[in-house]
Symmetry: C2
């Protein structure tokens, strides 16, 4: 009970950077509550209660309820961007890099569905300034995926008539995993990641031989 390595939902904690301990517990509680009920339907009393504290304790570590959402959203987007950059920057053919990027991005959305849901679907609840900051991060996410697709087109490996549109569709497909993925369902995050990597390679017209060789990593 003292070492909180997992949430009640059972997912790994990427919140180690949040200190002190009480601030992290509040933030993790907020992620769970926002994911379950949505930002506006979550009360500060609920967040504090999940963290085992009184409602007033929240305001020692955060100025407002919105600051909690802002922090969650920024850290989450930075993590998502990091995942894509790592995959996109690795050696290998464009098809391998795209498959790697998609499968790890999808695994993050499925496995950390609680976090991903808040990050991807509560953006509108932020105020104008915070939203602008997050939108800038999203543009970097988009650029990362587009760069891989453009590499594949330039190398002649992909057949993509509309690169911006296809980039949008690929990201949309991955992000929406956070909406429908069910931890108790029949699919593991790894299975969805592999399935989606294959579907995306088909979308960009990577030929069959390249495709079957690219989705073999863990």
């Amino acid at each position: 009970m003292s070492t909180a390595q997992e949430t009640a939902g059972g997912e790994l904690q990427p919140w180690a950077e949040v200190t002190p301990d009480a601030a992290r517990r509040l933030l993790v509680a907020a992620v769970e509550a926002f994911a379950e009920r949505g930002y506006h339907a979550t009360t500060t009393r609920d967040i504090a209660g999940r963290a085992g504290m009184s409602p007033a304790a929240l305001y020692i570590h955060y100025k407002t309820k919105e600051e909690l959402l802002h922090r969650i959203s920024r850290i989450g987007h930075e993590k998502a961007l990091d995942i894509l950059r790592t995959a996109g920057g690795r050696a290998g053919s464009p098809a391998e890099r795209l498959a790697d990027a998609v499968s790890s991005f999808v695994r993050w959305h499925a496995g950390g569905r609680t976090t991903a849901r808040v990050v991807q679907y509560e953006l509108d609840s932020l105020g104008a300034d915070a939203r602008a900051e997050i939108i800038a991060l999203r543009r970097q996410v988009d650029a990362e995926v587009r760069a891989i697709i453009e590499d594949g087109v330039a190398a002649g490996d992909f057949d993509v008539p509309d690169v911006p549109g296809t980039t949008l569709a690929v990201l949309s497909l991955c992000i929406d995993v956070a909406r429908w993925f069910n931890v108790d369902g029949p699919r593991t995050p790894e299975m969805v990641g592999d399935l989606y990597a294959d579907l995306v390679l088909r979308m960009v017209g990577a030929d069959r031989r390249k495709r079957s060789g690219a989705d073999g990593q863990k």
Copy 2:
């Protein structure tokens, strides 16, 4: 001002079945408000105000705020199902029917983004009974798309290793259009519909000749 054929957002009104007139005005106002701010962040005073009425007027036509969301969600899902059934039931090859279904489904999500947003993303705000009813409608939507894909596999036109997973991905891709589509953006609903029909045919492995012949309808 008396004949309300369009909302403030400019989309066509599929709400003709809602009577009397005051009840429809309230429902249209609720759709706009829910789409802009979300269900929980919308107040009954806001809905009534948009419809040009006092807060109390809402409760003459609807028992609760939730009943409004329920009605919107049911009518919306029935419309979405109707679109898919029409496309899926037409004559033609599986590839043509799938392209037709996807492009019209996507056009509905993009063009009627206001409505589609509420229908697809406010499901969790419904109570248990209402949610169960809507989920049953969603299963019918899923079955409709899966049937077309199974037809294509049976006919040897499609190459789909995981039919349920691919069905899920195709629907997810279409539904998420309601989240990102921007009326002021560079793409019309028709353009997105055509792009997505092509991408989905690639996902199911319809061969190139069939693909280029299937997305030529309006």
